[in-house]
């Protein structure tokens, strides 16, 4: 439970940096930089540029996501922005608009 959780009624306007997993159930506007995994849950809303190792999106993301390992867009997620990562998974039912860069 050392996870960082941004609860569903929380709004953060600014910058989040850290070396651990981050679970977003609320709203984050600004910028997120992590060395671990980012989980945007169904209730989560990101209006932010993200740099992380892994990103798993079930909620809404507006912004660019750069991951050193993997970005996964789950079904029912909505994402607008560019994704840059060596591995990108887009599940059936996911909404996505933007560019994909797998560094091929």
């Amino acid at each position: 439970m050392a996870n960082t959780v941004i609860g569903s009624s929380i709004v953060i306007d600014g910058e989040i940096t850290g070396d651990e997993d981050l679970v977003v159930q609320g709203t984050v506007k600004g910028k997120i930089q992590l060395k671990e995994s980012l989980y945007v849950e169904a209730s989560g809303v990101l209006e932010a540029d993200v740099e992380t190792q892994n990103a798993e999106v079930s909620g809404q993301v507006t912004g660019n996501v750069t991951a050193s390992d993997k970005v996964e867009l789950k079904s029912n997620c909505r994402m607008v922005g560019d994704i840059k990562a060596p591995r990108i998974l887009i599940a059936d039912g996911a909404s996505f608009k933007g560019n994909v860069d797998m560094d091929v």
Binding site: M1, A2, N3, T4, V5, I6, G7, S8, S9, I10, V11, I12, D13, G14, E15, I16, T17, G18, D19, E20, D21, L22, V23, Q25, G26, G30
Partner: protein
């Protein structure tokens, strides 16, 4: 996940820089810089460092806080807590061992303190006015009336003003004798009467 699902946790290696608002409990194990608004209870653990303006319902400080806390209910600084900044809350608990520098404002206590000195001042002021005012007023009153009646003599009754002049100076010292604060004035007035 059940526990954390109901509250927000800022983990030990996380830095949040900016504005955080919400309507739930917040546990800070890492760092938050900026401002924190409207959360129910903020719990700053020993590893937590908050440099922010904090507006919450309850705050429990076991870590480090630099900034002001305004709480609608209570602020508690535990023995491990360190805080620099001002606290505004109806209940403020600072435990033995806690380190704190700043001002504490519990709000409710201000009203009686503020109303206490005011009546004293208001009581002093009228007393000063009453003791000093009658003597000059009594002296000025006849002087003012004296020039005014003079032109009026032609139009209306000339006799009333002269008796007024004689009567008022006599009456004027009498009330000053009654007044407690005007002893010096009485003596002078009495001397003048004799010389007149």
């Amino acid at each position: 996940m059940v526990d954390t699902a109901q509250s927000t946790v800022v983990g030990p290696s996380i830095l949040i820089n900016g504005n955080l608002q919400g309507d739930e409990d917040l546990l800070v194990l890492g760092r938050v810089e900026g401002s924190i608004n409207r959360t129910k209870t903020i719990n700053i653990a020993e590893s937590g460092i908050v440099k922010a303006e904090i507006t919450v319902k309850n705050a429990v400080v076991s870590g480090v806080v630099v900034g002001n806390i305004t709480a609608s209910d209570s602020v508690e600084i535990t023995e491990a807590g360190r805080m620099v900044g001002d606290i505004r809350a109806p209940r403020v608990i600072i435990v033995d061992g806690a380190r704190f520098r700043g001002a504490v404002d519990m709000g409710d206590l201000e009203a009686p303190r503020a109303s206490g000195p005011l009546p004293q001042r208001s009581a002093d002021r009228p007393a000063l006015v009453n003791s000093s005012a009658p003597a000059p007023q009594a002296q000025k009153a006849p002087a003012a009336k004296a020039p005014a009646p003079a032109p009026m003599k032609k139009a209306i009754a000339p006799p009333p003003p002269p008796p007024a002049k004689k009567a008022e100076p006599v009456r004027a010292p009498e009330p000053t004798v009654v007044m407690a604060g005007a002893k010096k004035l009485k003596k002078k007035v009495v001397v003048k009467k004799k010389s007149d």
